[in-house]
Amino acid sequence: LEAHRVEHRGEFITLFLKHQADLKAFIGSLVRDRHARDDVLQEVALTLWQRFSTYEPQRSFGAWARGIAAKKILQRWEKLDRMPQPFAPQVIQALLDAYERTAAAAPARSDALERCLQDLPDKSRRLLELRYEQALTLGEIARRVGSTLDAVHKALSRLRTRLQECVEQRLAAAGERLS
């Protein structure tokens, strides 16, 4: 086992780093608290490494990692005795499938997002900064920008949708260029 670990250390690092952002997004979709999400990510990373000798290269590493993450999340909910649980197990399965269907290269997505952000007006960027950089609640953001909670929510929803469309377009355009 130890020999396997030494031999495959580099391989694991490469795979993990490649899928880390997507794995974090998957966990974050079910565990909304940032600290808790990072804890789960650490646990998953540890388990992935421990079980790497059982990983079959022909399988998707991302799907394998998300499967383990899903189990960790379920275990965590059981451990915390959280009743009712946020989502039923079949919802987690639906999400696993959805993540598999919509998988995309994270680095390309990240680059596209950065470009899309550059096109946003300052006011919109400021709103995203308050939400994602300072992790403020919507109520706090509303107070800061002198607006209402509902207006902030709608603005953020529109921004995320717009950015998503922008990213999809850029990725599609890049795909066309490559082909």
């Binding site: 993990f16 974050g28 804890d39 919507l138 995320r160």
Partner: protein, 677 residues
């Protein structure tokens, strides 16, 4: 994809979804692949935005990440590594670069149960099955020796700090059988529940910090027959979060700041209520008979009842001062009679009151302390004004019980200038059984500076602290504190026993210095910070929400009214949750941390003046005037919100119910507790 699906995705991402909306969202996700796909894309976008705005800003090269992580800290004492530790260490060593970034906030690898768990003693000294050791195997008998508390690392980062002379057995990493003494326990929510089992009752908790003390009410005089009776009280205090106490046949939930005493004197099986309750009027010389005064229901009249206590009578004392744990006139007595007897007690619980503390034998100001600290000279209050003060020399021996109040931790020793009360040992004129020192009145023993350690100089003589910020999102100021040879340093519960980034430091500055510490205490509150998730606004079914939307007890809702009340709650729930979120955001995380530290310091210092405590807390957490005003505004907002709930509730009530609601509370009686609907 449906508009509804899109609506729910964004409500969920922004934390605005109600319990009902979450349930609906879950059903949609499971049933509609398009919604699930859209959610997957949206959560990827959400994570990517966070990555860009938070992590991307300090994205570092692999080399920089390795530098930032540095070497994993070695435990203070040799530890027989569990399989999981080995695996964690192997992972750290093996991966070396990128993944270490993930681990940067976790200095201590998580510990979970191995086949033969071993627990490390991070501080203090313990006897393990009678032999001093630095590690404890599962099921071994542990006794804390020496005058320092022993810090023991349990499973999954949970920690027990056992007081000197405490005896305990640790099982399965999560169960501590506390047989004697006391301890303070910390357990993160994610670590599962920790159980402390005592002869009196059981305490269990997750995501909390709590203290448990077993107080044996043993009699000192050994020539009395009743000295063989060892009654016990379990004292539980909650420092953060909630705990559950199982005592007798009942569970008692305790919240933050609550303290309760549970007497070991369980009622005889099947008899919860005592047979007799009365006030002790007389006690026989030998203490074997007591006379109780019992109210007989007629104004101003009482009955008297003589009862006998035997060697079999189980005795317990609650809320009685030290050395007054004996039947005493004035105590309230709850008596369970022996089977078939009308005058012999099977069990008695005596309840005292705080004002019955025995007067000290003498008290005054400490005017001298011997070099070894074993003798103090007291300057007693002069009998008359203008007359010279008398002096007395008191011996402090090993058995002397010493307490300190209004004194910072580093000054807990007999010191000239302290006020002291002395209780002399029985039959002695100069040897103290107990001494209670207190610092100078008005001198706030709060730390001058509290902050998080961000850097430590190579020689360990300087630490840089990040002070609590005044503005959310903005880092607080930094300050550098010098540690000299004269500085008293303590690391209660800190692994490694040395300053390290990430620890929280409370600093008492040396006289006339703005940067040199007279005392500095490092504690590790990172584990305690974790359960932030527990602080998220209450969901349907959570006690916070239920308590807020509680229907007053005087109202008995009809089955038809129940759904209407639920509808009202659903209508107001988003506003209440928003209110909670905004309230939660008033203080920065650092300020909350500083408040936690300062609250503990205030508690330990024995501060009782509410205003003084508030001022000290405000100062410690750097709370601005604006923040204070906002917190006051939140109090008003909460009242307004509650009033809106009650107004809406009134609209669905019958006239009779409205009349009950409007009825003024009886004067002098506590208001009825709200009933959770």
């Amino acid at each position: 994809m449906s508009e509804r699906g899109d609506f729910l995705i964004h409500r969920y991402l922004d934390g605005l979804a109600s319990a009902a909306e979450e349930a609906e969202f879950g059903r949609l996700l499971a049933a509609d692949a398009r919604v699930a796909d859209a959610f997957a894309r949206a959560t990827r976008m959400d994570a990517a935005l966070e990555e860009l705005f938070v992590d991307g800003r300090d994205r570092r090269s692999a080399a920089a990440i390795v530098d930032a992580v540095a070497e994993p800290q070695a435990p203070a004492v040799p530890v027989r590594w569990s399989l999981r530790w080995v695996a964690a260490a192997a992972l750290l060593l093996a991966l070396g670069t990128g993944i270490l970034y993930l681990m940067r906030n976790r200095q201590q690898p998580p510990v979970t149960l191995a086949a033969n768990p071993v627990y490390a003693v991070a501080a203090g000294r313990v006897l393990v099955d009678g032999v001093e050791d630095g590690q404890i195997h599962d099921g071994a008998e542990v006794e804390v020796v020496g005058d320092q508390a022993a810090v023991i690392l349990l499973a999954d980062g949970a920690r027990a700090e056992l007081a000197p002379a405490t005896k305990a057995v640790i099982r399965h990493g999560r169960v501590i059988e506390l047989n004697e003494g006391s301890g303070q326990f910390q357990v993160a929510e994610a670590a599962g529940r920790l159980h402390v089992e005592t002869p009196v009752g059981k305490v269990s908790a997750a995501g909390t910090e709590f203290a448990v003390e077993l107080e044996p009410w043993e009699r000192e005089a050994t020539d009395e027959p009743m000295s063989q009776q060892v009654a016990m009280a379990l004292i539980v205090g909650v420092l953060s979060g909630n705990v559950d106490v199982h005592y007798g046949d009942r569970h008692y939930p305790l919240g933050i700041g609550e303290n309760r005493v549970y007497a070991a004197n369980k009622p005889p099986a099947g008899r919860k209520n005592p047979d007799i309750i009365g006030q002790v009027a007389m006690v026989s010389d030998g203490g074997r008979a007591i006379t109780l005064e019992l109210p007989d229901g007629k104004r101003g009249r009482t009955n008297k009842r003589l009862l006998y206590l035997t060697d079999e009578t189980r005795l317990a004392y609650v809320n009685v001062p030290w050395r007054r744990d004996r039947p005493t006139p004035g105590y309230q007595a709850s008596v369970w009679l022996a089977d078939g007897s009308t005058d012999t007690a099977a069990a008695v619980t005596f309840k005292g009151n705080k004002s019955s503390a025995p007067a000290p034998s003498l008290s005054g100001r400490v005017s001298g302390v011997s070099a070894d600290g074993k003798e103090i000279t007291l300057e007693l209050a002069p009998p008359k004004k203008g007359k010279p003060a008398a002096k007395a020399t008191i011996k402090i021996v090993e058995k002397t019980r010493a307490t300190y109040a209004l004194v910072p931790f580093f000054a807990e020793k007999p010191t000239v200038g302290y006020h002291v009360s002395v209780w002399l040992a029985d039959g002695s004129k100069d040897t103290a059984a107990a001494v209670a020192f207190s610092g100078k009145k008005g001198s706030a023993p709060m730390p001058d500076v509290t902050g998080t350690v961000t850097a430590v100089s190579a020689d360990g003589k300087e630490v840089t602290l990040q002070l609590p910020s005044r503005t959310k999102g903005q880092p607080g100021a930094k300050t550098t504190i010098k540690i000299t040879n004269e500085t008293k340093v303590s690391y209660p519960g800190v692994k490694g026993g040395r300053p390290a980034p990430g620890l929280t430091a409370s600093v008492w500055l040396a006289k006339n210095s703005s940067d040199t510490a007279a005392g500095i205490q490092f504690i590790d509150l990172r584990a305690a910070r974790k359960p932030d998730s527990a602080k998220t606004p209450a969901k349907k079914g959570d006690s916070g929400l239920s308590a807020f939307f509680a229907v007053p007890r005087v109202i008995e809702l009809t089955p038809e009214q129940q759904p209407k009340v639920t509808a009202i709650i659903h209508e107001l729930e988003p506003q209440y949750k928003d209110y909670l979120r905004r309230k939660e955001a008033v203080l920065t995380p650092d300020q909350k941390l500083a408040l936690a530290v300062a609250t503990r310091a205030a508690r330990e210092a024995g501060l009782t003046d509410k205003r003084q405590i508030q001022e000290a807390l405000d100062a410690a957490a750097n709370i601005t005037q604006e923040q204070k005003e906002r917190m006051q505004a939140f109090v008003r907002e909460e009242k307004d919100l509650r009033k809106r709930f009650l107004d809406k509730l009134t609209t669905i009530l019958t006239d009779e119910q409205k009349a009950k609601l409007a009825k003024p509370k009886p004067v002098g009686k506590a208001s009825a507790k709200p009933k959770v609907s």
